[in-house]
Amino acid sequence: MTAPTPAPPMIRMAGVDKFFGPLHVLKEITLEVPKGQVVVVLGPSGSGKSTLCRTINRLEPVDKGTIEVDGQPLPAEGKELARLRADVGMVFQSFNLFAHKSIVDNVMLAPVKVRRTPAAQARKTAMELLERVGIANQAEKYPAQLSGGQQQRAAIARALAMRPKVMLFDEPTSALDPEMVQEVLDVMTTLAKEGMTMLVVTHEMGFARKAADRVLFMADGEIVEDSTPEAFFSAPKSNRAKDFLGKILTH
């Protein structure tokens, strides 16, 4: 009997650098997210938080450093990478539902094409997921016929249909009308409670307080603070975080 090896962190980034031309958007990022943790990434716009999120499934390749998902280093572009991406769910600011497919077909597409799930079974699972996010009655409609909040919930269902190990949210409520933000956050909060590993880039402080296990504050391509929500909101350590919180919390 060998001693059980400790489970690898779900996400591991080490010494990650990323440039957009001369702009240094990620500076020596090192980060470990254990299984089941809900991490909220905060920071002013242009701080690199969206880029950080997008490097984890290699939608943005990095210039230096290593990224591992569930102990597996990100492979180069190709079939291997596609297989890894199938296990990493992603939700975008602009929903990105497939415009030419009905909602249920959106949710079914990847399970059928990537996982080779039989269509009938994929449809059944898709309907269950749509039920779970509260839009089963919209299943046969096209994305453009839904409200933003409904579209984003459909997009979450589409990502969940692949049974991902981890979910990445890239500003999931930033493109929504204010009255639709809560319905999306409710779905995300439930997901967090169920033990999903999540990395959420957002401006929703309420969600960070309520659902996050951990808050990362980014500025100028660096992780400036890494603490619990209570500690971050009540006693931010850096001046940049104080400044940021001062700007958003007074409104």
Partner: protein
Amino acid sequence: MSVLSTYSDLFLRAFGTTIQLFLYSAVGSLVLGTLLAMLRVSPVPVFRVTGTAYVTLVRNTPLTLVFFFFAFAYPLLKIVRLDPFQGAVVALTLYTSAFICEVVRSGINTVPVGQAEASRALGLTFGQMLFSVVLPQAMRSVVPPLVSTLIALLKNTTIAAGFSVSDAGSISYVLSDEGANMLVGLSWVAFCFVLLVIPLTLVQRALEKRWSVAR
């Protein structure tokens, strides 16, 4: 009217050949053109260069020259023997596919980049992304220019008449040989082409209507 009734057999045979030329070349160039468009948007540089080189070379060559190539130069290569009809189909397909490629590529460019990102994030391969997500949406937005290209192809088939194919373009040779009234004869040829284009226009309208609802 007398010209049409006297030469009805000739018109039927010739336009029958034209329709065959058109159908074979249309299917061929839609397939080849779409493949070329996929090459041109591929992440692999060699594929992109190949696609671009093909379009630059073929699109900038007069169609007549492509026909001359298959009539006189290609046989010297001694690969597969093509009869005049087959040669014409190949020439028309190669030529038209360069234009179809550019139409399809412009359609691909209208599809928001988020659609491709969502596909990749879900684990779809490049091919799955193109066939399931990007191309279906690209085709929807380019129906009018696609049909225009096919109409141009239909009319381009008449060049085959100069290369031993008895299509609609060859009707004028027979009529002038036999001293028929050219004004009436050629007007009938033009009229028949209009008749052939109408179904294409109807297909275009039907597709546009169907796809405008479905989104």
